[in-house]
Symmetry: C2
Subunit: 91 residues, 2 copies
DNA sequence: CCATCATATGAACGATCGTTTATACAAATG
DNA sequence: CATTTGTATAAACGATCGTTCATATGATGG
């Protein structure tokens, strides 16, 4: 029941990556600089995000650019953020 | 960054529980019958869902009834389902 | 072709997760 | 009060996860 999607979104760093490339495509080094994560870690997460269909890759010379594949993905993250914030107010 | 919410939603059985009590409050045994899960397993998951604020409990005699705490929760699950289905069509 | 830049991959690790089993607790009923 | 019904908890386990480190691959420019 949509297990792959939820599993993929359950990692905070993967969600950060999605936000990071949500507005414009970025290459691996840009992402790892932007988020201060090791290149190999970013690559691992990108691979999983591609496998889920959440992002797409496109090569341009030496660099490979990644972009979010559907706008609904960021929408869902926003919904999740709203709900998460609302639920945490209750404490 | 909303880690608790996403972690909580990353379990398929927890999502099944949310759907199960999404329309009407149910007690533990009803949930475990409904989903064919062991009572202790359901209790464990209910505890985590409560800790996240996703559900609320109310005792009535021997039984304890659980309900989803915000309607946005089911909305989010629906959004997730739509997106998950859309992403899986791509294979 | 060789060096370099950009990215991917594989192995390994501790940490966390979901589940099961057994047992404890709480409320009600006789 | 003893029993039963309903639920919670604790310990234990294998499985999966996120991360790191080392190394490999791919493309480009000299």
């Amino acid at each position: 029941m949509n297990d792959r999607l939820y599993k993929c979104l359950s990692s905070g760093n993967r969600r950060r990556i999605l936000y990071c490339i949500g507005e414009e495509a970025k290459c691996v080094n840009e992402i790892s600089d932007c988020l201060d994560l090791e290149q190999s870690l970013v690559s691992h997460h990108l691979k999983e995000l591609v496998n889920c269909g959440l992002i797409e890759k496109e090569r341009d010379g030496k660099k490979i650019y990644y972009r979010v594949s559907e706008s609904e993905i960021i929408d869902l993250l926003e919904k999740g953020k709203e709900l998460g914030d609302k639920l945490e107010e209750r404490c």
